[in-house]
Structure formats: structure tokens, C-alpha cells
Point group: C2
Chain length 211, copies 2
């Protein structure tokens, strides 16, 4: 059965998945970049820029996050620093060839025509309910898994609705102080999750929460 997954999603020691005050200059909020220090050196990330990177546990988890993914779901704030109606010609943070390489659904209150990028990524903008977005994403994924990229608010909505099968969460050794808290007001135990993988490295702790 195809799964709805969260993968390689990093949070701070104080539980935040992004720093405060996201902007064009701070795509991950202030200090949010520190969440991904485990990811930047990996081969998975470095090869996107044609460079060599590290192997090992951090890279293994990063690789796994991209395996068997047929569609993505992103929140609008992960796609763009702008709010409200689409007045800019914004095509995401990732240049002409985004790292998704498959249909990618952007949840927004403001509809917009699909955006076909290089490398197989097409951004579909949708204001439909979660369940309908998920249905479309699974159909587009053609039997593969659907991965929720983030951000926190999008993940929390899908988790609270009981729709997420598996989450690979990465705890990074940073303090953000404020921001959006992953799992805020969510009872993971009542939803049936347990921690099935728990593995530390020099840079982070990898945890898999499964139902």
C-alpha cells in the first residue's frame, strides 16, 4: 500500500520546525537554516549541485526520504515567502529544476494555474480540503508514496487528521526560541504512533514514528 510520509523533517531542541519571521532572505525563518546542518554535507544534497558529499547514516536517511516518492505535498509558505493572492511571478525557491521531479501539490487559499518546471516537477496549486488533495496526490503518484515536504502547519494538519503513515523526524542541536512547533496540540499516542527507529549521529538524531 502506498504511504503518506514525512521524511527528513528537522526540528530544533525546543520543538520548532522553522524559525520566526520567514522572508525572502530567511526562507526557513530566522535561524531555521541551522536545522539542516545534518543534511547539507550529505551526498544527497551535494549532488544536487554537482558536488561530492558524505555517506553514512545522515545520507542513508536522506536517500530513503526520496525513495519511492511519486508525488509531494507542500504548504504555501514552504513554496513562497509571499502571502495572499499571487501577485508575483514566483516559481519556488529552487530555480528552474526543483528537487521534487514529480507532481507537487501546493496547498494555498489562492488558486493559480499549474506551473511546469524542468526535471519533471509540476506545481499544482489547490485550495481543496486535505482529503481531496491527498486523493489527487495518490492518483498522481501512480502507486508510489506521497511525501509531505512541510512546513509545520501542513504536517500538523495531516497528522491531526490521522492521515500520515510514517514520519522521519530529525532533531538538530539548535535552539530557535520561537517559531512553529511541530505536533502542537497533537496527541501522537492517541493517534497510534510509536517510535520505531531512533539513531543518533554527530549532527542529529533520526527518529521514525510509525503507526
Amino acid at each position: 500500500m502506498p504511504k503518506l510520509r514525512v521524511a527528513s523533517f528537522a526540528i530544533s531542541i525546543d520543538g520548532f520546525g522553522a524559525g520566526p519571521n520567514q522572508s525572502l532572505e530567511n526562507p526557513l525563518g530566522i535561524g531555521g537554516g541551522g536545522l539542516h546542518e545534518w543534511f547539507y554535507p550529505t551526498q544527497t544534497f551535494q549532488k544536487m549541485m554537482g558536488r561530492d558529499g558524505t555517506l553514512g547514516t545522515d545520507n542513508d536517511f536522506a536517500v530513503r526520504g526520496f525513495e519511492n516518492v511519486g508525488a509531494w505535498i507542500l504548504g504555501r509558505n514552504m513554496f513562497s515567502p509571499y502571502r495572499g493572492p499571487w501577485t508575483q511571478d514566483w516559481k519556488g525557491w529552487w530555480g528552474d529544476n526543483p528537487p521534487y521531479h514529480c507532481p507537487t501539490f501546493v496547498m494555498t487559499h489562492h488558486e493559480r494555474a499549474p506551473l511546469e518546471m524542468e526535471g519533471g516537477t509540476t506545481f499544482h496549486f489547490t485550495s481543496e480540503p486535505l482529503e481531496r488533495v491527498l486523493e489527487r496526490a495518490f492518483a498522481a503518484a501512480g502507486g508510489k508514496d506521497v511525501r509531505i515536504g512541510g512546513g509545520v502547519s501542513t504536517i500538523n494538519q495531516f497528522v491531526a487528521a490521522g492521515l500520515v503513515d510514517e514520519m522521519h523526524i530529525v532533531l538538530s542541536p539548535v535552539i530557535l526560541g520561537s517559531g512553529e512547533r511541530l505536533f502542537e496540540s497533537i496527541d501522537l499516542k492517541a493517534l497510534g504512533y510509536s517510535c520505531t527507529v531512533f539513531q543518533g549521529t554527530n549532527r542529529a538524531v533520526h527518529m521514525v514514528l510509525s503507526k
Copy 2:
């Protein structure tokens, strides 16, 4: 300079330092015992019962938590499952010889005469303000550090007041779902903390937050 420290304080993946519904049967709340699976096998814990235990990173941190401690501060709910005025002859969870071995201040709204136990522990019950309790604890510690044992509410109060110098927090691979959240509504960054130690083991991740 003597420090005010938190040590070996364990939280769940979802950020709770105790489970819900503490009672005589569940001193750490429902499921809360799972927070301490890293601690139970260690020599530090086992030798309290005259048995051998494990050495290594988990034990090193446990040992460090007891070093140079001259006084403790506990919240009333860490001392007792009962609420309100002291109607029971309750002497703590730990038998005649508690693991504190020095003056231990219990913060409560209900005053009570000091309780002298075996092994050097005397419980002092106080309803004074945080700063005054801390002053008394440092005086009693005779130049050594003061350790806050817990629980969450007590730690949060001292942290929010800017009084805690160093915290060794342990993340355990358990999900509690609900309970008391460590650092709830506290901005650790604004308070000046950074993560100075981050070390994973098979059973937990040890993090030291320092100012």
C-alpha cells in the same frame, strides 16, 4: 561560581517531561517511566540498590548529574502524588534513605515542618518565592551547585525567570501523547541558551543547554 543546574531530566519525543495523570501507582504519570529507560541500567542507578550496572555515556551523564551538588530543589508534585494540605504522613517516593543526601527544598503552597531522612537528606517545605528558595538553597549548598530535580512546572518556572545556568536534558525514544511540556511558552534563545553538548546513545540523546 556555584551553578543552578538541571541534570538527567528526560523528555519524550513529543516534549513531555511526565505522562498525564500522576498518581501513587504512576509516579511519573501514565507511560512516564519509559522516559528513564536510559537511566535504569546504569551503574549510577543500579548501585542505589546494591547491584551492578552499565558504564559508558549514559552512566557518565548520570554520574555528572550528582557531582558537586550541595542542595536540591523539587516541586511538590515530584515529591508527592497528593495535592492540597498535607493530610498524609508522606515522606517521598524514595524510602527512608532518599537519593539526595543533602538539603532538599520542596516547593509547595502548604508549609510543613522539615523532614530529616537517613543518609543526609532533609526535606524543607517552602512556599516562598523562587528567588528566596534559591537563596536558601545556595546557602545550604555551602559553595556547591544547586540541582533542580523537577518536575516540569518547577523547571519551567526557574528557567523562565532566567535563573538556570545549565541543563542536561535527555531525549528518550518514547511518545507520551500528553502531559507537561518542558519549555512550554519559554523562549530559550531569548534567554541566551545554546546547545553545547549533543550526544546520542542507543537509548537516548544527551543535550546540554548552557548560557
